[in-house]
Subunit: 233 residues, 6 copies
């Protein structure tokens, strides 16, 4: 993907992205569950590298399965630099899909962030690994306690959203949003413009302007904004 | 699969199957959600033919998608006679994955039953189609209202269980159970023997025998059962 | 509302209605919760007469409140003949909003049906009252055990849908659907046409026709349907 | 307990009981979860015999535990005739606490009914046992799949209510209600009187009388009821 | 309302308020859901200004609706200084009812705090606005993604409590509590007295006094407290 | 219990403990719900002292009950130094089982920590008490608002786990884990060894070693680890 588009998206809040997608009829783009482990104000953007789990079955989800060709370890070694690894853990709250070691390896490979509707394990170790993570919480048990890993780069569900490989994922303190690959340029350009407009509205509110007629704008407000916008180049 | 084994399994309750699997350390084999649309006393056994949905995304889950090569329609035409179609609908309660027409086509193709942790639509029409269905309820909206179909014969989750293609599915009034393909013969033979034992215990209870020492049996009860068992050939 | 439109809608399944509304971009029209107390194959259509509850507060939700001018009793006496009374009970499962006496009075006034995302009380008495009810279950305690009644003919939520007075409500064995007042004619006419089409598809499936190319139809199927359709007048 | 009081309570609906207890400030007396396996119009009354489960732990909840002195089997042999066995299964939906054999033994011992916020297993076998059961559903797996039995005749929670041994349990098609032992006589006598009053109200509604002034009654309605009541002896 | 009463309430914890209301039979006064966005030790008190949402319906909940006379914007312009804006968002976790701009406008108007059982959007921007907020979390999408705004200063539900306009709302790190308007003076005066008593108990515990006889107090403890209390004026 | 074993366990993460128990077939050992009130990196180990609540019943769960011989106060006075008090609050989110005073008394008695699947009240006061607490959140109302205390040192459920008096409880930033008393030595010794191994793996990953073959180790990795291990004594 065009890295210039990624650069623009880094300046657009996930809140604005969802409004842009709503204009295209897409309401299911924000994931219920993933939150930054520690809110930091950071925003990260990258193509989705998907991981898929199904529920545990005691004959297949065992520590031994970690050596299997279809394992989370093998998946991690396939991740290109700059991707956002995104895992469908079906929202299971009691099986930490990754801990410090796997997060450290992802960091080493240049993975931009890890996102899941499930949980991670070893909170302290993950913070040490320095991999940015968005998850639904922390649990001590390993993935095999509740989940069976079945593959990567397939379509997945995550937090109530459909995610396809190479969709663009954006994460910030409000959580995680998916932008369909075909709408990325639209979202970047319209989103950036919308951010500019909202920054102007915010400054007007700070001056004491009332909301009706300002947000959404009436003709007068549109004109005032256009004048201000012109000065911004 | 050996049809003789299927024939034996038809006589073993899902309750007994779960006890046999527990002896092998498998606790996650009964699916939370699927129930017979109308309890009928019927038991159906067959290999799993899996269907997979992810959440809706408004740009891909549309009525138009029903003509796509990866569609529920295409999946149905791939189903061999005698299978149990089992759909991972992520427990979504508000999108009916199939209605009367698709059920009628499955019936026509010889599908033994349809099982899902989601819901179906058009209750009356489905009863008319005569396809036996185990589901988590009924909702009027179509699948695309809440789900995107993504493929068939992949590993899936259903009602909290992992299901792999060709696992054996057994359904009766207690719901739906999966038997890992490798444990089918064990479950059939041990299960049938266990059914016989429990029928004898039930008759003892009817005669007024107390539970302690009978169920589980002490040495005396074991001997009495062995004698009775011998008379059964 | 035009009673001819109501007559048409009575022949259109709630499943079909949701598909018609999806074509207009409306996905939130089927209510999660309301189900027929006993499935009967019946379909009922009428304008919404809304009732609104908030949670219980022990100083205001008391048996004494039943004599208050803003009470469920007063609301019932305002219901015109033919309406469907629809109550926002916030899905509370432990407070039966109405019992046999109030249902009997609604029946007497010609109320067509009662719909709620909450529960009713006195199952036997309600069946005796003969008022058709769609609800999320049964609980013994009275409304004041969990709810405070606050008014009628206001906008409400019910089972995850927004309902405005005079929207059209349709209920059948698949549950309850709301049609925005402005879309009623569209839903009736398109819906009736769609039912006809689906009945033809069903008969084709019964003859053994495959789904791809039939449903949705390709050019050939469209032509065959058009020919059949012509014979129906 | 006085069997005359039990006889009166058999004629009072659980709906009325909850209203009587509300007058004493008790709102938590109806259990969320227990429902008749098949609604039959039947009402059963008896003292509580409590059973208590905690979650499964794989080292203690095993088929072997069924021979332990603290087992469901031992508990059943302690149940006096006429009790209602009531089990705290913490609402676990995936472990059937009892099946056909244990239900048959309870029936044999004269247990009046079995009530639980959990589920049972072997639906067909339980119907054969003829023990009346109120539960939250059916699941194939045995109790040890999700629960550990820890004792009987202790205070328990069931469906959100506190139950103490020898409280009175009343079950009918609306579910299960607990009456604190100290309030049993009150609930019986006030309840029976209230039933009489409501039957008169129902007949008035059938005649076309409006609700305001009737239910709750104004002075005129009170007088008319008093006159009618006198004729009933 | 008497500002002296407000001043007293600012020194009473929400924990103590709930105990005072329990003595009046009110158990439903603490809201499930609203929490400080960042715990700060702050306590805020003010009269409720209610806002009401129902679920989204795609034909009415649109960005265009923000210019409608019944809009969140119009409601904000009606808020008097010092109120606590409290929004019934039905606990919807995926639609941020307000973002930075609307919060900034509320701050400008002198709104004391915003409370909701729903979520907000744009975490960073809200912190910048400096409006104190109590909510159930953060989500990127706008209100119209999941909610339809229908009015203000009506009775609402919030976090399982009934809230009427002009009830008093108190928020601190334990969450949000409603005091019925009629009980405000009682809660303030009894509450302040209770705080004093508990501070004495805490100091006794610090000295090593055992709990039984101290909390609740026996005659001796009552006397010791009375003596201490006298010294406080 | 051997204090040397406790000392070893203090150095083993709860994540590692769950993996050791999984090898013994125990998957239900991590509690869903309890989290540190403020994550601090601290790990605490001690024998369980259990507390048990059932749901509220308004006739028995009253402020007056706090003087009853079976009260939380009496239970606290029975707690030996060094125990971890662990309360089965059935996950009730709206009744704070303890506040500042009771926590201060537990601290005074040398209780090592308080763990519950319920919530506490008076967040600020609890932090002042300095008792380490693991809970599912904070709510203003007292225990009697939603719970009835019924006893101590009985088997309980907590966060989906069975806990028996004298089991070992371990808490850290990942939450709370129970070790069956019979497995404590095993868990300590195997766990400490496993920690050592994982620290070596982490250092290997930091050097850029790939996961497959390292974690789980192949023969080569095993040999390299054995060599490194020897140097550690």
């Amino acid at each position: 993907m065009d890295s210039a588009v990624i650069d623009i998206l880094r300046k657009v809040t996930t809140a604005t992205i969802t409004t842009m997608l709503l204009k295209k009829g897409i309401r299911r783009c924000w994931m219920q569950g993933p939150k930054p482990l520690v809110p930091s104000g950071q925003r990260i953007v990258g193509p989705a590298f998907t991981l898929r789990f199904v529920p545990v079955r005691e004959d297949v989800a065992t520590p031994a399965s970690w050596s299997h060709p279809i394992s989370t370890r093998a998946a991690i070694e396939e991740m290109p630099e700059g991707v956002i690894a995104i895992a469908d853990a079906m929202g299971v709250p009691s099986a930490g899909i990754f801990g410090d070691i796997l997060c450290a390896r992802m960091k080493k490979r240049g993975v931009a962030a890890l996102v899941t509707d499930g949980v991670l394990r070893d909170r302290g170790g993950i913070l040490t690994s320095a991999l940015p993570v968005w998850c639904a919480g922390i649990a001590a048990p390993a993935s095999v306690n509740g989940l069976t890993f079945v593959g990567w780069q397939q379509p997945i569900g995550c937090g109530g959203c459909a995610i396809f490989p190479d969709d663009i994922i954006i994460v910030d303190d409000d959580g995680a949003v998916v932008v369909p690959a075909t709408l990325t340029e639209y979202a970047a350009h319209e989103g950036a413009e919308h951010e500019l407009y909202e920054s102007w509205v915010f400054s007007e509110v700070e001056k004491g302007v009332k909301l009706p007629g300002l947000y959404p704008p009436n003709e007068d407000a549109k004109a005032r904004y256009a004048a201000w916008r012109k000065t911004r180049g």
